[in-house]
Amino acid sequence: MIAIQCKEIKKSFCAGESKVEALKGIDLQIFEKKLTLLVGPSGSGKTTLLSIIETILTPDEGDLFILGHHVNKMNELEKARFRNQNLGIVFQTLHLIPTLTVLENVTLPLIIKGEEKSSAEKKGISLLKQLHISKKMNFPHTELSRGEQQRAAIARALINDPPIILCDEPTSALDQENGITFMTLLHELALSKGRTVFVITHDHRIFSFADHIIHINDGLIEKKNV
């Protein structure tokens, strides 16, 4: 079954008076319950494609289907609701809010969804326990190590139990050991529960975790390895 399907996705940006074509017509299929890596050099269009799949960037042309929904036809409000319910996002810079505690950061998607604080906290604590950072749940994330912060960011992506997890260069700031730990955790918490995981990376150390590897270069899909 296909979880994400891109058809002829094109996106360009204005850079001064010139126009840069970031994506030149992407055709892509990402399968359910699989870990797919999108790899490519800097400036190849990885982040642009991920942003479009995250529905936070609108393509100029082409169609995007996620879990059978034609995302292009949704308005901003519908996209926001769709993101909240179906997508768990782990950003490269994590984007944890420093004035909130780890638990508050983790439960943010549930609170946005409208869930009661007590129920959201219960779920958050349970998840943080699985990730072995429950002892630091009342600390601001600035008091956590990079690895712990990464786990908090995964917890936030998983808290709403979304069917799709999207990660942007999750291991780029981690050493070998932490990088492997992160991917093991992602595999354990996401794939074992039947979620679809899509990761953009250029970190060769984690290629062994992938079910599929898609190569992108200069705004076009180069090859697909299964």
Binding site: T47, L50, S51, E54, I56, L57, E76, L77, A80, R81, R83, N84, Q85, I89, F91, Q92, T93, H95, I97, P98, T99, L100, E104, L108, P109, I111, I112, K113, K117, R156, D168
Partner: protein, 381 residues
């Protein structure tokens, strides 16, 4: 999300304190300047504060304010008394008369009359006794003048205050001090004298009166009474509020208060600039967090509520602190000659201004946040 919004607001301590300080300063400027402004206006109709019990004032139609009074013949008092449903009516004097002390101090004094029969116009508390007022030439003098303006200066430069029993000269007529009272000063640093209406006739050499103060019967219709008073074109009957407004409006023509009004407006602009700018800067600092909330599924309505809540919290704290500081200022100058009036309406006014500033600064920030694209999260490293 409201709790998270609150934590985002107080999380950046320096910005939060700066914001509260900015808002506090704005409210302090607005309420303190307004209180001074209102204090000044209230001094223009001080006569209605001294004579607080009447609910009807009768004047010559050309009388505008304390500096433009046309006296009326005393017969008009009988006319007012003859109007049905008038409980009582008394003559009220307000004159400016030259005053000289035995030590040679010379001032122009404001002289207020006290009704001989009812003692309406008598200061609420004073040093001395009422019987003394009936002695020929007896007056009550305000304590500030007795201690300062009219005090004798000894050879070693010390001030010797005037005392009960001391002689003074009013308009060339000998008088004596029968009492000393505390009184709110007027616009000018002039002595304030209270004397019985009969004594004032002696000092001024005229039986004419400046105002007539009257009280309606308990069930009397004031509008109906005024209609009957005003059927005589030689007099103008006014309610207490109308009388105060007429005098205040005349005073407003001087331009002094317009300048004060401008300073209040300036306070609002400065306050808005400080608070608005800090709030906007804080929002800009937090912009990536709002983008994150959008990326996690938050909609504009939610973000609108969050920012509005932050502005309201800042507004309420700033409003309470600013108002408290103004009231403290008022308390501190209570016994000085400085002006200060803080009626309940001023609370409403500053509250409304605070609400306007909050709304404006929230809207400025909301506009910025609405425009932010969650895509910035992918590009900012």
């Amino acid at each position: 999300m409201i709790m998270n919004s609150f934590k985002m607001l107080i999380g950046n301590r320096a910005a939060f304190i700066g914001l509260i300080f900015g808002f506090f300063l704005a409210i302090l400027l607005i309420s303190q300047q307004s209180a001074i402004y209102l204090g000044l206006i209230s001094r223009s109709y001080r006569i209605s504060t001294i004579f607080s019990s009447p609910d009807i004032w009768v004047i010559d139609p050309t009388t505008q304010g304390e500096d433009l009074i046309r006296s009326m013949p005393k017969d008009y008092l009988q006319y007012v008394k003859s109007i049905p449903n008038i409980q009582w009516a008394v003559p009220v004097n307000y004159l400016l008369l030259p005053l000289k002390t035995t030590s040679g101090n010379y001032q122009i004094a404001e002289v207020y009359g006290i009704d001989d029969d009812t003692l309406i116009g008598l200061p609420q508390s004073f040093e001395g006794n009422v019987e003394g007022l009936y002695r020929k030439g007896a007056v009550i003098i305000d304590s500030n003048s007795a201690k300062n303006l009219l005090a004798k200066t000894s050879s070693d430069g010390k001030k010797i205050p005037l005392r009960i029993g001391d002689e003074i000269e009013i308009n060339g007529i000998r008088g004596n001090i029968a009492g000393i009272a505390k009184s709110t000063p007027g616009f000018y640093p002039q002595p304030i004298i209270f004397a019985l209406h009969s004594q004032i006739q002696l000092f001024s050499g005229s039986s004419r009166i400046q105002y007539i103060a009257a009280k309606a019967q308990k069930n009397g219709d004031i509008e109906q009474i005024l209609k009957q008073i005003n059927s005589n074109p030689k007099v103008l009957g006014l309610t207490k509020n109308q009388f105060e407004s007429r005098i205040a409006n005349h005073f407003l023509k001087t331009g002094i208060l317009i300048n004060y009004g401008i300073s209040v407006l300036l306070g609002m602009i400065i306050g808005f600039s400080i608070a608005g700018q800090i709030f906007y800067m804080m929002t800009v600092q937090n912009i990536s967090y709002y983008a994150l909330i959008k990326s996690l599924g938050g909609n504009e309505k939610m973000i609108f509520k969050m920012i509005l809540f932050q502005a309201v919290v800042v507004g309420i704290i700033g409003y309470i602190l600013g108002t408290a500081a103004t009231l403290l200022w008022g308390y501190a100058i209570k016994n000085t000659t400085l002006t200060f009036a803080f009626p309940g309406k001023l609370l409403l006014f500053t509250g409304s201004v605070a609400a306007i500033i909050c709304t404006l600064m929230a809207f400025l920030s909301i506009k910025k946040v609405f425009k932010v694209d969650p895509y910035i999260l992918m590009t900012s490293i």
